[in-house]
């Protein structure tokens, strides 16, 4: 590998102005400003007490205009504090033609030796001059996205986010694969209210929300429809939808119900979890939307009887799937969840005993619109159960291969809710909840106590088996508080099954190339600090598609997702221009950049590599794999790094040690912190701020070492998406350094953390000692 690189060509005749800030003595007490001024070669060199003041603005601006400056160096504090300020002060100069030399945090605050600090200040300014000469005038990229959004999934999360978006003026398509919107919430009967210590009618709460979505002109509801492909370009999504026919024209159907009387086909009604039967022509539930019947074509015998009785002539038996293309600016995944298959726990006998049911089925039984009209009945004999045992964590908190290791969050409250409802209506029915731990945080704890006061019994223990003795079911459980093994005879057993990702969630992730968690829920960019964002820019997630949660939290997430969409829609997005650009003439379409980019910014469109400006972070990783060198970072980044290295090493003396330290945003802030806390480190440390350590390539390192740098220190925050790639790269670079006849020990790589500034200062000191011992 040829690693000898020439110095970048410096554009000639550029007029540079250097403005040095005393910072009210913070800098000038240590750095001899007069000495600095006389050592700097620039067209204008000025010294001021407080450059960041409005007075400073006038001085800078007047000089830029009157002295025709092409470039400006501000020798003052950290760019993290005041870069934006001085970018503004250099107007009418392009903001990117200004660079800051950090004389405060990285010099006067960390060194005591005035002579050495002054010499270092001169070098820092020189490096800035060299760097800014390479700078190009660039403008921020403005991305304007289509003011529309697609919401995948029409449950409470999807409906809520659609309403919020519509109210903000965003055209929203609410896409639901089932014949009606409403999701899981329509089935659960009552919902718990922790504050009121009461249960409320779920449908009564949901129905007005559904109506709001129906009546909002900005929302287009598309049922029987699912996304089958999607691609993203310049912040827009091209989605292809497939819409299945309803076989009943929803505009003509008046929901009179004559058709169901004549339909000869009966199948289990999924709305009632199969506890009742429905016809092949049916309406999912009475408040379903669209308010029209539909035909379940898989079970329909096409006898035509319904067609004959329909006075509205709404029924058609021949229909084909329709493909609908959709272009939207944003996408929200609200594909919800499903519940754990109880047959995966054969020990609980779900398929052996009729009276072993799930909480969802109990919800239907207790629902006044359910199969028993709200009457609590055993499925085997129609009697009211004398005792019910509820088993928690069925499929949750389970480390064996077919279980989920996570807690499903809502099941404790669901069990308590159903138990409370039963206790109120049927005080003679004994209820025992067998739990692992009761998890009712916050206000829900009050509801839990309320349940205990109502006489619900609780046993800590995970039942081993459900068996049958005579007419009774028997639950075998170890009470782990009493340390006793017990067998509970009961009429009914209710399983609290885990929440798990729906098939729709996995499908959309596959189509969109959106990352999933190890539990197959949609993965957020950062689980702690970046909720609802996904690793695809412009795509967001809410509700149980992201993980188990209750209705309230689903709605909170839905609103969060809609406001993230609004951020993009309202003003467009202004993006820092320093992103990757590709020369299609040189590109050989090897696609290595696509594979390596963790931000999913690269894709192939029309036989060319397309870089999505919204997604590209400008980290520069793609440059390292591009063999024909077709990729570049916009704004002369490469040249700027070389020029900075030149400047930092320019006036190095024989006996002097110089270490170039490349730090990313987090590392640079940590280094600033060293200064703020007045911790000292050797004068040999010269810090260069970079966007990502990926931008520092082998060629830069070799270049610096060959031109006299004693050591290279690279620091990066390990939370960065690319961190592991960098770690792998370092060993490779050390080998190359050796191949170039230099000591690989001269390269140091370290992780950095903002609060760990003392540690960073110690690392600087240690590296300096080590390098001194090498030479």
């Amino acid at each position: 590998m040829n690693t000898s690189v020439k110095s970048p060509i410096t554009p000639k005749n550029l007029r540079v102005g250097v403005f040095i800030c005393e910072c009210g003595g913070n800098i000038s007490d240590i750095v001899d400003i007069e000495k600095v001024k006389s050592s700097i070669n620039a067209d204008v060199v000025g010294e001021f007490e407080n450059l960041c003041s409005l007075n400073g603005r006038k001085i800078i601006r007047d000089n830029v205009i009157n002295k025709n400056l092409d470039r400006v160096v501000i020798a003052a504090c950290s760019p993290i504090t005041h870069e934006k300020t001085f970018q503004d002060y250099v107007k009418p100069l392009n903001p990117y033609l200004m660079d800051m030399a950090n004389l405060r945090e990285h010099c006067s605050w960390v060194h005591d030796d005035k002579k050495k600090a002054t010499e270092k200040a001169i070098t820092l300014i020189n490096a800035s001059i060299e760097k800014v000469k390479q700078a190009q005038a660039v403008d921020p990229i403005l991305c304007q996205t289509t003011e529309s959004a697609a919401v995948i999934g029409g449950g409470i999360s999807g409906i809520s986010t659609a309403i919020s978006l519509a109210k903000q003026g965003v055209k929203t398509y609410l896409i639901e694969q089932n014949p009606s919107i409403g999701g899981k919430m329509v089935k659960i009967g009552k919902v718990f209210s922790p504050v009121k210590l009461a249960e409320e009618c779920g449908m009564c709460l949901l129905n007005p929300v559904i109506n709001e979505a129906i009546w909002n002109e900005n929302i287009e509801i598309m049922t029987n429809t699912k996304a089958i492909s999607a691609e993203r370009r310049a912040g827009n999504f091209n989605i292809l939808l497939e819409s299945k026919p309803r076989y009943v024209d929803e505009k003509k159907c008046i929901s009179c119900g004559k058709c169901i009387e004549v339909c000869p086909v009966e199948v289990p009604d999924s709305w009632n979890d199969g506890l009742s039967m429905r016809k092949a022509i049916y309406k999912p539930f009475s408040q379903s939307y669209p308010d029209a019947y539909t035909i379940d074509i898989e079970n329909c015998e096409k006898c035509g009887k319904c067609k004959k009785v329909c006075t509205m002539d709404a029924i058609y038996l021949k229909g084909e799937n329709e493909m609908i293309p959709l272009n939207v600016g944003s996408l929200i995944i609200a594909t919800g969840h499903k519940t754990f298959d109880p047959n995966l726990r054969p020990e609980y006998g779900y398929d052996r005993y009729e009276d072993v049911i799930t909480q969802s089925e109990l919800g239907r039984i207790m629902g006044v619109n359910g199969p028993t009209k709200g009457k609590l009945k055993m499925l085997s004999n129609g009697k009211v159960p004398r005792r019910i045992v509820m088993i928690q964590c069925v499929g949750s908190r389970d480390e064996k291969p077919d279980g989920h290791r996570y807690c499903s969050q809502v099941c404790c409250m669901v069990a308590l809710k159903n138990a409370n409802i039963i206790k109120h209506k049927y005080p003679d029915t004994d209820i025992i909840i067998c739990y692992t731990d009761i998890r009712t945080p916050g206000m829900y704890e009050k509801y839990y106590k309320h349940g205990q006061e109502s006489g619900i019994r609780l046993i800590r223990g995970r039942p081993g088996e459900v068996s049958k003795k005579g007419d009774s079911l028997v639950v075998r459980v170890e009470d782990t508080i009493q340390k006793e093994f017990t067998e509970i005879e009961t009429d009914m057993v209710v399983l609290s099954t885990a929440i798990e990702p729906s098939e729709g969630t996995k499908e959309i992730a596959e189509i969109m190339n959106i990352g999933l968690t190890e539990d197959m829920f949609i993965k957020e960019t950062h689980p702690k600090i970046k909720p609802v964002t996904t690793d695809v820019k412009g795509a967001f997630v809410c509700g149980t598609a992201q993980g188990p949660k209750d209705i309230t939290n689903s709605i909170i997430q839905a609103n969060a997702a809609s406001s993230k969409v609004a951020e993009i829609m309202n003003n467009g997005l202004e993006i820092e221009p320093f992103i990757a650009e590709i020369d299609p003439e040189i590109c050989n379409l090897c696609e290595k950049c696509i594979d390596i980019c963790k931000y999913k910014a690269m894709s192939i469109k029309d036989d060319k590599i397309y870089i999505d400006p919204l997604s590209c972070s400008g980290c520069g990783k793609c440059l390292t794999v591009c063999e024909p060198n077709a990729i570049n970072i916009h704004g002369n980044i490469d040249e700027k790094i070389f020029a900075t290295i030149d400047g930092m090493l320019k006036d190095k003396k024989e006996e002097e040690t110089r270490i170039l330290v490349f730090l990313d945003q987090v590392g640079y802030t940590a280094a600033d912190n060293i200064g703020v806390n007045r911790v000292n480190y050797p004068e040999s440390i010269y810090i260069i701020k970079i966007h990502s350590v990926n931008r520092v390539m082998l060629k830069h390192i070799i270049y610096a070492l060959q031109r006299g740098a004693d050591g290279i220190f690279i620091g990066e925050y390990p939370g960065d998406l690319m961190y592991h790639e960098v770690e792998k790269k370092m060993d490779q670079i050390r080998k190359e350094i050796e191949a170039n006849g230099m000591n690989p020990e001269r390269l140091e790589f370290s992780n950095v953390y903002i609060p760990y500034f003392k540690g960073l200062a110690e690392k600087f000191q240690k590296f300096d000692n080590k390098l001194k011992s090498l030479s």
Binding site: L344, R345, K400, P401, E465, K468
Partner: protein, 324 residues
């Protein structure tokens, strides 16, 4: 599903099989030959230590050294697929393989011992026996040959109510590798099915232990017998004729102690106990004494054999009649 071999198999000898029910080994060999499984038995192979290990006689380190020695035999003979007749051997060897492959410190210590006693050539090489890829229970090899078994069936068992008892150390210890279910284990049910008959499937206590619990049988006899008794009562409720096993220790617990428990509970149990390989060999037409080894059983199997033969004879006559 994991890859199950039928070549380069070393049939791992078991103390309890050899000492209590040698018919299990002869039956296994009989079936292996019929269904085409290439195997060897090596006399240098030693006990897995299981019984002693679970009775606190051998610690894990000694067990690991013994395991490494046995793996060395498998490697040297180039028969690196170990097939266990006993569930204890199965779990013990899987654990040993995992330890040797993942714990460098233990592997080094084990190899130090080999070096000390001048058995350098026995040193274990990391990864040479994989817990999942190389260690199997015989029933898994047979499951892989279900169709071959079905082709060789000569006797009809459909008259009998057959239940299965799955060994804990097959499905409750190394459950990541268990095939055909570990919560409701079904591998024996599937094998019985390949003999042309459905088992009774799920029954109460299907998943519970045999009760032996290694030393529990001796130091905690009442509890041990109570557990076995409960399972026997449940099987009696289901009118079970035959209980099928996959571990000689479970088989001992039921077969040897059934008369005792019967007396204790004052209940008659008419349940025959057979290892799955004995059952398969029997219906394939193997000699009940020379191959199946029924003479070492406590619960006499002669009535069962007679009944099976009677059914067969009757069928033969009917067949002759219909032809004639």
């Amino acid at each position: 599903m994991k890859n199950i071999p039928d070549k380069n198999v070393i049939l791992f000898k078991s103390c309890l099989v050899s000492g209590e029910y040698p018919g299990i080994e002869t039956s296994t060999k009989y079936i292996f030959d019929k269904v085409g499984i290439d195997y060897i038995v090596n006399d240098r192979q030693s006990c897995c230590t299981g019984l002693g290990h679970y009775s606190d006689v051998f610690d894990q380190f000694s067990t690991t050294i013994v395991g490494a020695r046995n793996f060395n035999i498998a490697n040297k003979t180039n028969h690196t697929n170990l097939a266990m007749m006993c569930a204890t051997c199965y779990a013990i060897n899987k654990k040993v393989a995992k330890l040797l492959n993942t714990n460098d410190e233990i592997r080094d210590k084990v190899n130090d011992v080999f070096e000390e006693v001048n058995f350098d050539e026995m040193k274990y090489e990391k990864g040479s026996i994989d817990s999942t890829e190389n260690i199997f229970h015989v029933v898994e090899l047979l499951f892989n040959k279900k169709d071959e078994i079905a082709k060789n069936i000569q006797f009809d068992l459909s008259k009998f109510r057959i239940a299965t008892h799955h060994a804990c150390h097959y499905c409750k210890v190394q459950y990541e590798d268990t095939i055909e279910g570990f919560r409701d284990p079904k591998i024996l049910d599937e094998l019985v099915k390949s003999c042309g008959v459905e088992t009774i499937g799920w029954y109460d206590h299907k998943r519970s232990t045999c009760g032996a619990g290694f030393r529990q049988r001796f130091v905690n006899k009442d509890l041990s017998m109570e557990v076995t008794g409960e399972k026997l009562l449940s099987l009696k409720n289901e009118d079970t004729d035959i209980l099928v096993h996959m571990c000689p220790n479970c088989q001992m617990q039921f077969d040897r102690y059934q008369p005792y428990i019967s007396k204790e509970l004052d209940t008659e149990f008419n349940i025959f106990h057979l290892n799955i390989v004995q059952l398969i060999a029997l219906v394939m037409g193997a000699d009940p004494y020379k191959i199946v080894g029924i003479q070492t059983h406590t619960v006499p199997l002669e009535p069962l054999i007679e009944e099976i033969e009677a059914i067969s004879n009757k069928k033969d006559k009917e067949l002759k009649k219909s032809i004639g």
